[in-house]
Protein backbone atom coordinates (compact mmCIF):
# COMPACT_ATOMS: atom_id res chain seq x y z
CA UNK A 1 0.00 0.00 0.00
CA UNK A 2 1.39 3.37 -0.98
CA UNK A 3 0.85 6.66 0.85
CA UNK A 4 -1.51 7.85 -1.87
CA UNK A 5 -3.62 4.69 -1.57
CA UNK A 6 -3.79 5.24 2.17
CA UNK A 7 -5.02 8.80 1.54
CA UNK A 8 -7.54 7.62 -1.07
CA UNK A 9 -9.08 4.94 1.15
CA UNK A 10 -9.13 7.37 4.09
CA UNK A 11 -10.88 9.93 1.85
CA UNK A 12 -13.47 7.35 0.78
CA UNK A 13 -14.04 6.33 4.42
CA UNK A 14 -14.51 9.93 5.58
CA UNK A 15 -16.86 10.60 2.65
CA UNK A 16 -19.04 7.60 3.54
CA UNK A 17 -19.07 8.44 7.26
CA UNK A 18 -20.00 12.05 6.49
CA UNK A 19 -22.78 11.20 4.03
CA UNK A 20 -24.27 8.59 6.39
CA UNK A 21 -24.29 11.09 9.26
CA UNK A 22 -25.76 13.81 7.03
CA UNK A 23 -28.69 11.48 6.34
CA UNK A 24 -29.12 10.17 9.90
CA UNK A 25 -28.39 13.06 12.29
CA UNK A 26 -31.43 15.17 13.12
CA UNK A 27 -29.90 18.26 14.72
CA UNK A 28 -29.53 20.80 11.88
CA UNK A 29 -26.14 22.23 12.85
CA UNK A 30 -24.69 18.76 13.41
CA UNK A 31 -26.07 17.70 10.05
CA UNK A 32 -24.27 20.64 8.47
CA UNK A 33 -21.02 19.63 10.18
CA UNK A 34 -21.49 16.09 8.83
CA UNK A 35 -21.89 17.49 5.30
CA UNK A 36 -18.67 19.45 5.76
CA UNK A 37 -16.91 16.28 6.94
CA UNK A 38 -18.14 14.47 3.80
CA UNK A 39 -16.76 17.27 1.61
CA UNK A 40 -13.42 16.94 3.41
CA UNK A 41 -13.38 13.26 2.43
CA UNK A 42 -14.09 14.11 -1.22
CA UNK A 43 -11.28 16.64 -1.20
CA UNK A 44 -8.80 14.16 0.29
CA UNK A 45 -9.81 11.49 -2.24
CA UNK A 46 -9.53 13.83 -5.17
CA UNK A 47 -6.29 15.52 -4.20
CA UNK A 48 -4.70 12.09 -3.73
CA UNK A 49 -5.93 11.14 -7.22
CA UNK A 50 -4.44 14.39 -8.58
CA UNK A 51 -1.03 13.55 -7.12
CA UNK A 52 -0.61 10.18 -8.88
CA UNK A 53 2.48 9.93 -11.04
CA UNK A 54 5.89 11.43 -10.46
CA UNK A 55 5.62 14.88 -12.04
CA UNK A 56 3.64 17.92 -11.08
CA UNK A 57 0.20 17.17 -9.61
CA UNK A 58 -2.76 17.37 -12.00
CA UNK A 59 -4.06 20.97 -11.74
CA UNK A 60 -7.62 20.14 -12.88
CA UNK A 61 -8.82 18.25 -9.76
CA UNK A 62 -6.97 20.76 -7.57
CA UNK A 63 -8.83 23.62 -9.24
CA UNK A 64 -12.15 21.81 -8.80
CA UNK A 65 -11.40 21.19 -5.12
CA UNK A 66 -10.70 24.91 -4.70
CA UNK A 67 -14.05 25.68 -6.34
CA UNK A 68 -15.62 23.14 -3.99
CA UNK A 69 -14.18 24.80 -0.87
CA UNK A 70 -15.68 28.17 -1.82
CA UNK A 71 -19.05 26.61 -2.70
CA UNK A 72 -19.06 24.65 0.58
CA UNK A 73 -18.40 27.85 2.57
CA UNK A 74 -21.32 29.55 0.79
CA UNK A 75 -23.57 26.53 1.40
CA UNK A 76 -22.56 26.45 5.08
CA UNK A 77 -23.40 30.14 5.41
CA UNK A 78 -26.88 29.95 3.93
CA UNK A 79 -27.62 26.64 5.67
CA UNK A 80 -26.85 28.22 9.08
CA UNK A 81 -29.20 31.11 8.27
CA UNK A 82 -31.93 28.65 7.23
CA UNK A 83 -31.34 26.45 10.31
CA UNK A 84 -31.74 29.47 12.58
CA UNK A 85 -34.94 30.39 10.78
CA UNK A 86 -36.35 26.86 11.20
CA UNK A 87 -35.45 26.76 14.90
CA UNK A 88 -36.97 30.18 15.49
CA UNK A 89 -40.20 29.12 13.79
CA UNK A 90 -40.23 25.95 15.93
CA UNK A 91 -39.77 28.08 19.07
CA UNK A 92 -42.62 30.36 18.01
CA UNK A 93 -44.82 27.34 17.35
CA UNK A 94 -44.10 25.92 20.82
CA UNK A 95 -44.99 29.26 22.40
CA UNK A 96 -48.29 29.30 20.54
CA UNK A 97 -49.06 25.75 21.67
CA UNK A 98 -48.49 26.76 25.27
Amino acid sequence: MTTLQLFMYAGAFILVVGVAATLLVRDLIRRLIALNVASGGVMLLWLALADRGDGEPDPVPQALVLTGIVVMAAVTGIAIVLARRVEQLDDDLEEVEQ
Binding site: M1, F7, A20, L32, P59, A63, T67, Q88
Partner: protein, 326 residues
Protein backbone atom coordinates in the same frame (compact mmCIF):
# COMPACT_ATOMS: atom_id res chain seq x y z
CA UNK B 1 -4.96 -8.69 -4.87
CA UNK B 2 -1.86 -7.42 -3.18
CA UNK B 3 -1.25 -7.98 0.47
CA UNK B 4 -1.67 -4.74 2.34
CA UNK B 5 1.67 -3.86 3.84
CA UNK B 6 2.36 -0.62 5.57
CA UNK B 7 6.09 -0.88 4.96
CA UNK B 8 5.96 1.66 2.09
CA UNK B 9 4.04 4.15 4.18
CA UNK B 10 5.55 6.70 6.50
CA UNK B 11 4.52 6.20 10.12
CA UNK B 12 3.70 9.91 10.43
CA UNK B 13 1.31 9.68 7.46
CA UNK B 14 -0.50 6.77 9.10
CA UNK B 15 -0.75 8.71 12.36
CA UNK B 16 -2.14 11.85 10.68
CA UNK B 17 -4.62 9.84 8.61
CA UNK B 18 -5.75 7.96 11.73
CA UNK B 19 -6.17 11.26 13.59
CA UNK B 20 -8.17 12.68 10.66
CA UNK B 21 -10.45 9.63 10.63
CA UNK B 22 -10.94 9.75 14.42
CA UNK B 23 -11.77 13.48 14.45
CA UNK B 24 -14.17 12.92 11.52
CA UNK B 25 -16.01 10.27 13.53
CA UNK B 26 -16.01 12.48 16.64
CA UNK B 27 -17.35 15.43 14.62
CA UNK B 28 -20.38 13.42 13.52
CA UNK B 29 -20.88 11.32 16.68
CA UNK B 30 -20.70 13.88 19.52
CA UNK B 31 -24.30 14.79 20.38
CA UNK B 32 -23.57 18.32 21.67
CA UNK B 33 -23.04 21.02 19.06
CA UNK B 34 -20.07 22.53 20.91
CA UNK B 35 -18.13 19.27 20.95
CA UNK B 36 -19.03 18.42 17.35
CA UNK B 37 -17.91 21.88 16.18
CA UNK B 38 -14.58 21.67 18.00
CA UNK B 39 -13.92 18.19 16.59
CA UNK B 40 -14.74 19.50 13.12
CA UNK B 41 -12.32 22.42 13.46
CA UNK B 42 -9.54 20.04 14.54
CA UNK B 43 -10.49 17.80 11.59
CA UNK B 44 -10.04 20.76 9.20
CA UNK B 45 -6.68 21.63 10.73
CA UNK B 46 -5.39 18.06 10.37
CA UNK B 47 -6.65 17.92 6.78
CA UNK B 48 -4.51 20.98 6.02
CA UNK B 49 -1.45 18.89 7.00
CA UNK B 50 -2.48 16.29 4.44
CA UNK B 51 -2.88 18.93 1.71
CA UNK B 52 0.82 19.63 2.11
CA UNK B 53 1.51 15.90 1.62
CA UNK B 54 -0.42 15.75 -1.67
CA UNK B 55 1.35 18.84 -3.08
CA UNK B 56 -1.67 21.15 -2.98
CA UNK B 57 -0.52 24.47 -1.48
CA UNK B 58 -3.37 26.39 -3.17
CA UNK B 59 -5.92 24.19 -1.45
CA UNK B 60 -4.08 24.51 1.86
CA UNK B 61 -4.26 28.34 1.69
CA UNK B 62 -7.94 28.29 0.73
CA UNK B 63 -8.74 25.73 3.42
CA UNK B 64 -6.92 27.74 6.07
CA UNK B 65 -8.76 30.94 5.12
CA UNK B 66 -12.16 29.41 4.33
CA UNK B 67 -12.56 25.96 5.89
CA UNK B 68 -10.88 26.81 9.17
CA UNK B 69 -11.41 30.58 9.03
CA UNK B 70 -14.75 31.73 7.67
CA UNK B 71 -16.66 28.43 7.95
CA UNK B 72 -15.22 27.94 11.44
CA UNK B 73 -16.32 31.45 12.42
CA UNK B 74 -19.80 30.71 11.04
CA UNK B 75 -20.13 27.46 12.99
CA UNK B 76 -18.69 28.83 16.24
CA UNK B 77 -20.95 31.86 15.92
CA UNK B 78 -23.95 29.52 15.67
CA UNK B 79 -23.05 27.92 19.01
CA UNK B 80 -24.54 30.65 21.16
CA UNK B 81 -27.93 29.54 19.99
CA UNK B 82 -29.78 27.11 22.20
CA UNK B 83 -29.63 23.59 20.83
CA UNK B 84 -33.26 22.51 20.52
CA UNK B 85 -34.08 19.37 22.48
CA UNK B 86 -34.49 16.44 20.14
CA UNK B 87 -37.73 14.55 20.53
CA UNK B 88 -36.83 11.31 22.32
CA UNK B 89 -36.70 8.41 19.95
CA UNK B 90 -37.47 4.89 20.95
CA UNK B 91 -34.08 3.46 21.95
CA UNK B 92 -34.44 0.26 19.96
CA UNK B 93 -35.49 2.20 16.89
CA UNK B 94 -32.46 4.50 17.22
CA UNK B 95 -30.13 1.50 17.42
CA UNK B 96 -31.84 -0.08 14.40
CA UNK B 97 -31.48 3.12 12.34
CA UNK B 98 -27.80 3.43 13.27
CA UNK B 99 -27.21 -0.23 12.40
CA UNK B 100 -28.89 0.11 8.99
CA UNK B 101 -26.91 3.32 8.37
CA UNK B 102 -23.64 1.61 9.31
CA UNK B 103 -24.44 -1.40 7.10
CA UNK B 104 -25.32 0.76 4.07
CA UNK B 105 -22.23 2.87 4.74
CA UNK B 106 -20.05 -0.26 4.81
CA UNK B 107 -21.52 -1.42 1.48
CA UNK B 108 -20.91 2.02 -0.07
CA UNK B 109 -17.35 2.08 1.25
CA UNK B 110 -16.71 -1.42 -0.12
CA UNK B 111 -17.96 -0.31 -3.54
CA UNK B 112 -15.77 2.83 -3.49
CA UNK B 113 -12.74 0.85 -2.30
CA UNK B 114 -13.23 -1.66 -5.14
CA UNK B 115 -13.21 1.16 -7.68
CA UNK B 116 -10.15 2.75 -6.07
CA UNK B 117 -8.23 -0.55 -5.98
CA UNK B 118 -8.61 -0.83 -9.77
CA UNK B 119 -7.24 2.62 -10.52
CA UNK B 120 -3.93 2.73 -12.32
CA UNK B 121 -1.01 4.53 -10.73
CA UNK B 122 -0.71 6.56 -13.92
CA UNK B 123 -2.19 10.07 -13.79
CA UNK B 124 -5.18 10.89 -16.00
CA UNK B 125 -4.51 12.30 -19.48
CA UNK B 126 -6.08 15.63 -18.66
CA UNK B 127 -3.33 16.73 -16.24
CA UNK B 128 -0.40 16.67 -18.70
CA UNK B 129 -2.64 18.31 -21.34
CA UNK B 130 -3.48 21.13 -18.96
CA UNK B 131 0.15 21.57 -17.88
CA UNK B 132 1.22 21.67 -21.53
CA UNK B 133 -1.33 24.36 -22.39
CA UNK B 134 -0.42 26.64 -19.47
CA UNK B 135 1.92 28.74 -21.61
CA UNK B 136 -1.01 29.59 -23.91
CA UNK B 137 -3.28 30.66 -21.03
CA UNK B 138 -1.87 34.09 -20.18
CA UNK B 139 -0.72 33.09 -16.66
CA UNK B 140 2.07 30.79 -15.54
CA UNK B 141 0.44 29.13 -12.50
CA UNK B 142 -1.36 25.96 -13.70
CA UNK B 143 -4.24 26.10 -11.21
CA UNK B 144 -5.03 29.73 -12.01
CA UNK B 145 -4.85 28.81 -15.71
CA UNK B 146 -7.42 26.02 -15.14
CA UNK B 147 -9.70 28.17 -12.98
CA UNK B 148 -9.71 31.36 -15.05
CA UNK B 149 -9.05 30.09 -18.55
CA UNK B 150 -9.50 26.37 -19.40
CA UNK B 151 -12.43 25.72 -17.11
CA UNK B 152 -13.64 29.24 -16.34
CA UNK B 153 -17.25 28.12 -16.85
CA UNK B 154 -16.90 26.24 -13.51
CA UNK B 155 -15.63 29.40 -11.87
CA UNK B 156 -18.45 31.46 -13.40
CA UNK B 157 -21.03 29.02 -12.01
CA UNK B 158 -19.25 28.94 -8.66
CA UNK B 159 -19.42 32.70 -8.31
CA UNK B 160 -23.11 32.45 -9.24
CA UNK B 161 -23.62 29.99 -6.35
CA UNK B 162 -21.82 32.35 -3.97
CA UNK B 163 -23.91 35.33 -5.13
CA UNK B 164 -27.18 33.41 -4.72
CA UNK B 165 -26.15 32.21 -1.25
CA UNK B 166 -25.23 35.75 -0.14
CA UNK B 167 -28.41 37.29 -1.57
CA UNK B 168 -30.56 34.51 -0.08
CA UNK B 169 -28.98 34.77 3.36
CA UNK B 170 -29.29 38.56 3.34
CA UNK B 171 -32.95 38.34 2.32
CA UNK B 172 -33.71 35.91 5.15
CA UNK B 173 -32.25 38.12 7.85
CA UNK B 174 -32.47 41.61 6.43
CA UNK B 175 -33.76 43.46 9.45
CA UNK B 176 -31.85 41.77 12.21
CA UNK B 177 -28.22 42.58 11.45
CA UNK B 178 -26.85 44.43 14.43
CA UNK B 179 -24.09 47.00 14.31
CA UNK B 180 -21.34 46.83 16.91
CA UNK B 181 -21.81 50.13 18.71
CA UNK B 182 -19.04 50.30 21.28
CA UNK B 183 -16.07 48.10 20.40
CA UNK B 184 -13.78 49.48 23.13
CA UNK B 185 -10.13 50.55 22.73
CA UNK B 186 -8.61 47.06 22.38
CA UNK B 187 -10.77 46.06 19.44
CA UNK B 188 -10.20 49.46 17.83
CA UNK B 189 -6.43 48.91 17.95
CA UNK B 190 -6.87 45.37 16.60
CA UNK B 191 -8.85 46.79 13.69
CA UNK B 192 -6.15 49.36 12.95
CA UNK B 193 -3.38 46.74 12.96
CA UNK B 194 -4.97 43.60 11.50
CA UNK B 195 -7.38 44.87 8.89
CA UNK B 196 -4.82 46.76 6.73
CA UNK B 197 -2.44 43.79 6.98
CA UNK B 198 -5.18 41.41 5.81
CA UNK B 199 -6.16 43.69 2.91
CA UNK B 200 -2.50 43.86 1.87
CA UNK B 201 -2.23 40.05 2.14
CA UNK B 202 -5.35 39.67 -0.02
CA UNK B 203 -3.88 41.97 -2.68
CA UNK B 204 -0.62 40.04 -2.65
CA UNK B 205 -2.38 36.66 -2.90
CA UNK B 206 -4.39 38.01 -5.83
CA UNK B 207 -1.38 39.19 -7.85
CA UNK B 208 0.85 36.27 -6.83
CA UNK B 209 -1.84 33.87 -8.04
CA UNK B 210 -0.87 34.46 -11.66
CA UNK B 211 2.53 32.84 -11.16
CA UNK B 212 2.48 30.88 -7.86
CA UNK B 213 -0.04 29.49 -5.31
CA UNK B 214 -2.74 32.04 -4.58
CA UNK B 215 -5.49 33.67 -6.59
CA UNK B 216 -8.97 35.12 -6.38
CA UNK B 217 -10.45 32.48 -4.05
CA UNK B 218 -7.75 32.73 -1.41
CA UNK B 219 -7.60 36.52 -1.72
CA UNK B 220 -11.41 36.72 -1.50
CA UNK B 221 -11.44 34.56 1.62
CA UNK B 222 -8.81 36.76 3.29
CA UNK B 223 -10.68 39.90 2.26
CA UNK B 224 -13.88 38.41 3.69
CA UNK B 225 -12.08 37.71 6.97
CA UNK B 226 -10.78 41.30 7.00
CA UNK B 227 -14.32 42.65 6.50
CA UNK B 228 -15.69 40.43 9.28
CA UNK B 229 -12.96 41.50 11.72
CA UNK B 230 -13.46 45.16 10.78
CA UNK B 231 -17.20 44.80 11.36
CA UNK B 232 -16.68 43.13 14.74
CA UNK B 233 -14.31 45.96 15.69
CA UNK B 234 -16.98 48.54 14.95
CA UNK B 235 -15.81 49.87 11.59
CA UNK B 236 -19.08 51.09 10.11
CA UNK B 237 -17.82 51.23 6.52
CA UNK B 238 -17.05 47.49 6.61
CA UNK B 239 -20.63 46.49 7.30
CA UNK B 240 -21.33 44.20 4.36
CA UNK B 241 -25.08 44.59 4.16
CA UNK B 242 -27.63 46.48 2.13
CA UNK B 243 -27.63 47.66 -1.46
CA UNK B 244 -23.98 48.72 -1.62
CA UNK B 245 -22.69 45.26 -0.66
CA UNK B 246 -25.17 43.65 -3.05
CA UNK B 247 -23.87 45.75 -5.96
CA UNK B 248 -20.27 44.71 -5.21
CA UNK B 249 -21.24 41.02 -5.01
CA UNK B 250 -23.30 40.99 -8.19
CA UNK B 251 -20.67 43.05 -10.08
CA UNK B 252 -18.26 40.08 -10.09
CA UNK B 253 -20.84 37.77 -11.64
CA UNK B 254 -21.99 40.31 -14.23
CA UNK B 255 -18.41 41.19 -15.20
CA UNK B 256 -17.65 37.49 -15.67
CA UNK B 257 -20.69 37.07 -17.94
CA UNK B 258 -19.61 40.18 -19.85
CA UNK B 259 -16.12 38.67 -20.26
CA UNK B 260 -17.75 35.54 -21.68
CA UNK B 261 -19.61 37.75 -24.17
CA UNK B 262 -16.40 39.54 -25.16
CA UNK B 263 -14.78 36.15 -25.71
CA UNK B 264 -17.68 35.15 -27.97
CA UNK B 265 -17.42 38.40 -29.96
CA UNK B 266 -13.64 38.36 -30.38
CA UNK B 267 -12.68 34.67 -30.63
CA UNK B 268 -16.01 33.12 -31.57
CA UNK B 269 -16.12 30.90 -28.46
CA UNK B 270 -18.05 31.68 -25.29
CA UNK B 271 -15.66 32.53 -22.41
CA UNK B 272 -12.55 32.00 -24.56
CA UNK B 273 -9.59 34.31 -23.99
CA UNK B 274 -7.12 35.43 -26.63
CA UNK B 275 -3.50 35.13 -25.52
CA UNK B 276 -2.78 38.78 -26.40
CA UNK B 277 -5.14 40.07 -23.69
CA UNK B 278 -5.62 36.96 -21.53
CA UNK B 279 -3.34 38.14 -18.69
CA UNK B 280 -5.09 41.51 -18.40
CA UNK B 281 -8.51 39.85 -18.57
CA UNK B 282 -7.62 37.22 -15.95
CA UNK B 283 -6.14 39.74 -13.52
CA UNK B 284 -9.09 42.15 -13.89
CA UNK B 285 -11.72 39.44 -13.49
CA UNK B 286 -9.80 38.02 -10.52
CA UNK B 287 -9.77 41.45 -8.87
CA UNK B 288 -13.55 41.75 -9.27
CA UNK B 289 -14.03 38.14 -8.08
CA UNK B 290 -11.90 38.81 -4.99
CA UNK B 291 -14.11 41.74 -4.01
CA UNK B 292 -17.22 39.75 -4.88
CA UNK B 293 -16.23 36.66 -2.86
CA UNK B 294 -14.93 38.72 0.07
CA UNK B 295 -18.08 40.82 0.38
CA UNK B 296 -20.31 37.77 -0.15
CA UNK B 297 -18.59 35.85 2.66
CA UNK B 298 -18.88 38.85 4.98
CA UNK B 299 -22.58 39.16 4.05
CA UNK B 300 -23.10 35.48 4.86
CA UNK B 301 -21.37 35.87 8.22
CA UNK B 302 -23.41 38.94 9.16
CA UNK B 303 -26.65 37.25 8.09
CA UNK B 304 -25.79 34.05 9.99
CA UNK B 305 -24.63 35.97 13.06
CA UNK B 306 -27.63 38.28 13.19
CA UNK B 307 -30.02 37.53 15.97
CA UNK B 308 -33.29 38.67 17.30
CA UNK B 309 -32.31 39.46 20.89
CA UNK B 310 -35.82 39.76 22.22
CA UNK B 311 -36.84 36.40 20.79
CA UNK B 312 -33.64 34.77 22.09
CA UNK B 313 -34.32 36.02 25.62
CA UNK B 314 -37.92 34.84 25.37
CA UNK B 315 -36.97 31.37 24.27
CA UNK B 316 -34.26 31.15 26.95
CA UNK B 317 -36.88 32.03 29.54
CA UNK B 318 -39.30 29.55 28.04
CA UNK B 319 -36.75 26.73 28.00
CA UNK B 320 -37.11 25.54 31.64
CA UNK B 321 -40.89 25.67 31.34
CA UNK B 322 -40.75 23.52 28.22
CA UNK B 323 -38.42 21.07 29.92
CA UNK B 324 -40.89 20.76 32.77
CA UNK B 325 -43.82 20.23 30.42
CA UNK B 326 -41.98 17.52 28.51
Amino acid sequence: MTVIAFSDVDVLDVLVVAAVAVTAILAIAIPRRVGATIAFLVFGLLLALLWARVAAPDVAIAEAALGGGVAGALLVDALHRRQPAQPKRDHRRAVAITAVGAALGAVTFAALATVLSRLTAEPADLGPLALEAVERSGVSHPITAVLLNFRNLDTLLEIAVVVFAAVGAAALSRDRIRTVTDPGPVRRVIAVIIVPALVLLAAWLLVAGTSEPGGAFQAGAVLGAALIIAHLCGVRAARAAGGRALVLVVAGLLAFILLGGIGLAVTGTWLALDLSWAFAAILSIETLLTVSIGVALAMLFLAAGSRDDAAAADSAAAAPALGGAA
